[in-house]
Every structure is written in C-alpha cells, then in structure tokens.
C-alpha cells in the first residue's frame, strides 16, 4: 500500500508540472500575440490623432483666410 501510494505521488508531481509547463507556454505565446496586436492598435490610434491634428490645422488655416477676407 505504502509503495503504491508513493508510486502514485511520484507520478502525480511530474504530471502536474507537465501540465503547468504547457499552460505557461501557452500564456507566453498568447501574450506575444497580444503584443504584436497591440502594436497595430497603438499605431492606428496614433495615426488617428495625427490625422485629426492635420485636419484642425487645415480648418484653422481656412478660418484665418475667411477672417482675412471678411
């Protein structure tokens, strides 16, 4: 009985670690994927900000022209 219990414990430990290793490998891969996605998202949001600033500059120029002409 003692032998059987020990045998069970001897196998349970490594198998739990095996599962844990798989899990952490998966977690790391998920984060790596998220990192590349975040890069794209961050680039897009920065582009939006740049576009809006460009637009504002244009609109301001237009307003200036109008005010000069008025």
């Amino acid at each position: 009985m003692n032998l059987l219990l020990s045998l069970q414990a001897t196998y349970a430990g490594p198998i739990v670690l095996l599962a844990g290793n798989r899990q952490s490998a998966k977690d790391r891969a998920t984060l790596e994927h998220a990192a590349s996605e975040a890069d794209k998202g961050g680039e897009a949001i920065n582009q939006i900000l740049r576009e809006i600033r460009k637009n504002t500059t244009l609109t301001l120029a237009m307003l200036e022209d109008l005010e000069k002409g008025a």
């Binding site: 414990a9 095996l18 290793n21 790596e32 900000l49 809006i52 109008l66």
Partner: protein, 161 residues
C-alpha cells in the same frame, strides 16, 4: 518598469526592445529579468515536467523491480517489497512538491505582472483617447466658426443633422 507619458507611443510605454528576446514586456520582465532563484525554479520545473523525465522514471522503476525481483533473486539489494525504492519515491515526491509550489508562485507572479501591465496600457490608451476627444472638440469649434463666416457671407447655411 517605468511608465512614461508619451502621446506618440500609447501602448508602447512599457516596451523595452531587448534584442532577440520576447516581444511582450511581461514576458521580458518575467523570463529575461528573472533572478537566479527564479531561473532555477523555471529550469527544474521545466525539466521535471517533461515526457522524457516521466519515461526515464518509468524505465528506472521497472528496471529496479526487474533486477531485484527476478534477475538477482537471492542477492538483490532491495528485495520485495522494495523498501529502498519506496524511500526513493518519497524523496522524489518530497522535492517535486516544493518545486510544484515554486512553479505555482512563478505563475502567480506572471499573472500579477500581466494585470499590472494591462492596467498601465489601458491608462495610456485612455490618455490618448482623451487627447483625441480634445482635438476633435477643438476642430468642431473651428469648423463652427468657419460655418458662421460662410453663413454671414451667404445668408444661410444648412447645418447637417
């Protein structure tokens, strides 16, 4: 991890760009900046939790039993019921238990880092979103002034719904 405010890199604030390493800062911090003890924990847990380890252990146990119960018979060093083998099992289990906890602690640390990073990224993204909102408001103000000018000049202006 240093968080610096920069509207140009909203999601890249925690990025460190280590050559050839992980892309994600949490992976970088967790794996590449681990202390010696943490590295050891990862290594040992990584070595024990593999199929080669399990298979080697199985071969060793079967070999031990076969050698002692069949081959050597009367001159075996650990006859049935394999008391020495039992001790070996206990020693192995005594060490894999703590290693398991080490691995668990590392996993918990990883989760914490990930949450903190997510919070920082979200904060940075919110900052940029607010900035975008401010820019749009400024733009609308300007456009309204332009519209006012045009209205004065042409008498009327159809404001879109």
């Amino acid at each position: 991890m240093a968080v610096e405010a920069s509207p140009e890199t909203p999601t890249g604030v925690l990025r460190k760009h280590l050559p050839g390493g992980y892309l994600h800062p949490v992976n970088q911090v967790h794996v590449e900046e681990a202390t010696l003890g943490e590295r050891m924990a990862d290594r040992v847990a990584g070595a024990i939790g593999t199929w080669p380890f399990l298979i080697a252990q199985g071969v060793l146990i079967v070999g031990w039993v076969v050698v002692n119960a069949i081959w050597l018979l009367n001159k075996s060093w650990d006859p049935y019921p394999f008391i020495l083998l039992n001790l070996m099992f206990s020693i192995q289990a005594a060490y894999t238990g703590p290693v398991l906890l080490l691995a668990g602690n590392r996993a918990a640390q990883y989760d914490r880092l990930r949450l903190e990073h997510t919070a920082a990224v979200e904060e940075a993204a919110t900052r940029v979103t607010l900035e975008i909102l401010k820019e749009i408001e400024k733009n609308t103000e300007c456009t309204l002034k332009v519209a006012e000018h045009i209205r004065r000049r042409h008498g009327e202006f159809h404001r879109p719904a």
